[in-house]
């Protein structure tokens, strides 16, 4: 299990190593490297998803490893509470940025092995008791910053991300 300690509370993530092996391992490696420590949730759309893991406060990007293969064809769906990898228009461009679905976003799911239909790879979910923190993030006031829409007006920081034993 992954524990994200944020300034709004803890979020525990259960990664799905079985259905999204490469993606889950990739995420875990970033956690072990301390990559996420000090990064913010930079895109919050309350009726959609909350996204983070790419920028420092002030919208400074942090250098990532190479992108990974998209495993969105694993049958997992972008339902409330699931965690998926963010990416550019290129299906196989995910690196470190992830998002937590706060609505049932089935339209993000895999439908076909082409650029249009590849979808967004779900690789885990937050634990039920973490939704309280997720909902706090979701309810935050957003503004425009450095050309990005939907940036929380007050920084929401991942103070520390670590791998912990499941309780």
């Amino acid at each position: 299990m992954i524990l994200l300690q944020t300034n709004l509370g803890d979020i525990k993530l259960e990664l799905d190593y079985e259905n999204a092996p490469e993606t889950a391992k990739n995420f875990e490696q970033y956690v072990r490297d301390g990559f996420y420590d000090g990064l913010i949730f930079h895109r919050v759309i309350s009726n959609f998803m909350v996204q983070g893991g790419g920028f420092e406060p002030g919208m400074q990007p942090r250098k990532t490893r190479d992108p990974i293969q998209n495993e969105a064809d694993n049958g997992l769906s972008n339902m409330v509470g699931t965690v998926a990898m963010a990416r550019t228009m290129d299906p196989h461009s995910a690196t470190a940025q992830f998002f937590i679905n706060v609505e049932n976003n089935g339209f993000l799911d895999h439908t076909a092995k082409n650029a249009e239909g590849w979808g967004y790879c779900v690789f885990g979910k937050v634990t039920d008791d973490s939704m309280e923190t997720v909902n706090k993030i979701r309810a935050t006031r957003t503004t425009m910053r450095a050309g990005h829409q939907d940036v929380p007006a007050e920084d929401i920081v991942i103070v520390k991300a670590e791998v912990v034993e499941a309780a």
């Binding site: 759309i45 009726n47 959609f48 339209f107 239909g117 829409q149």
Partner: protein
């Protein structure tokens, strides 16, 4: 209280960034507005209200939430989503608008259109449009099984992708004389439309007076909307996607 106009979002599964921007626009701009007018090509494609894709259902749900919060929602057909029907509008808490539609915008009679009917220089397209807007033709199309319509839409997409090889299809601009003719037919000095992907404000003469044509932009690199508040000129606004 403001009135908002948007068009040409071309919502589709392959552009979740646009869907995200739209959901955000609903939260930030539309909540608290008196009315939201969507002037066509809201969806990139539409083959019938019975398709119920996750995208269609989720957008309907978000619109319904907005309508229940007190914002009136009006939806006009575009050239890509002209088959949107009453059923979807009910699910979205929206009212289907005729094209053109004459409204009272804070005391100013205003003509709303998608805009494709103004592009009269594109003779071939106008023929296609007349055919597609024929109620009997639409009825026949919608009577075919959903799977057939989905297959047809897929083939059309592949065909147009092959034809354009990734290039955006060109859309002709409006015919200026047609604009004046339309303004004079309805006796109005303000027109708002989309379709051409050429966002701008044009000053012109119609009915022997100053007139104005406001053109909404398509949502791609920027999002575009028109905001009208009582006692103020409607404003064309944009923000990065």
């Amino acid at each position: 209280m403001t009135t908002l106009f948007i068009s040409d979002l071309h919502l589709e599964e392959s552009r979740p960034d646009i869907t995200g921007a739209f959901l955000s626009f609903l939260n930030k701009n539309a909540v608290g507005a008196r009315q939201l007018y969507i002037l066509g090509d809201f969806f990139e494609a539409w083959i019938g209200d019975d398709e119920h894709t996750p995208l269609q259902d989720q957008v309907a749900k978000a619109l319904k939430t907005l309508s229940e919060s007190g914002t009136e929602i009006f939806l006009m057909h575009g050239n890509r989503d002209f088959l949107i029907g009453e059923d979807y509008c009910v699910r979205a808490g929206a009212t289907l608008l005729d094209d053109p539609a004459l409204i009272d915008l804070n005391g100013t009679p205003t003509l709303l259109m998608h805009g494709d009917s103004l592009c009269t220089a594109d003779v071939e397209y106008q023929k296609f449009r007349a055919n597609m807007r024929n109620p009997q033709m639409q009825k026949m199309m919608l009577a075919r099984p959903l799977e057939d319509r989905q297959k047809m839409a897929r083939q059309l997409r592949e065909l147009s992708a092959a034809k354009n090889q990734g290039k955006a299809e060109s859309i002709m601009d409006v015919t200026p004389e047609e604009v004046v003719k339309t303004l004079e037919h309805y006796g109005v000095q303000l027109m708002i439309h989309g379709h051409t992907h050429r966002p701008d404000i044009h000053e012109l003469q119609a009915n022997g007076q100053n007139a104005r044509r406001m053109v909404l932009g398509d949502w791609d690199k920027n999002i575009w909307w028109i905001e009208a508040s009582p006692g103020q000129q409607p404003e064309l606004k944009k923000a990065p996607l």
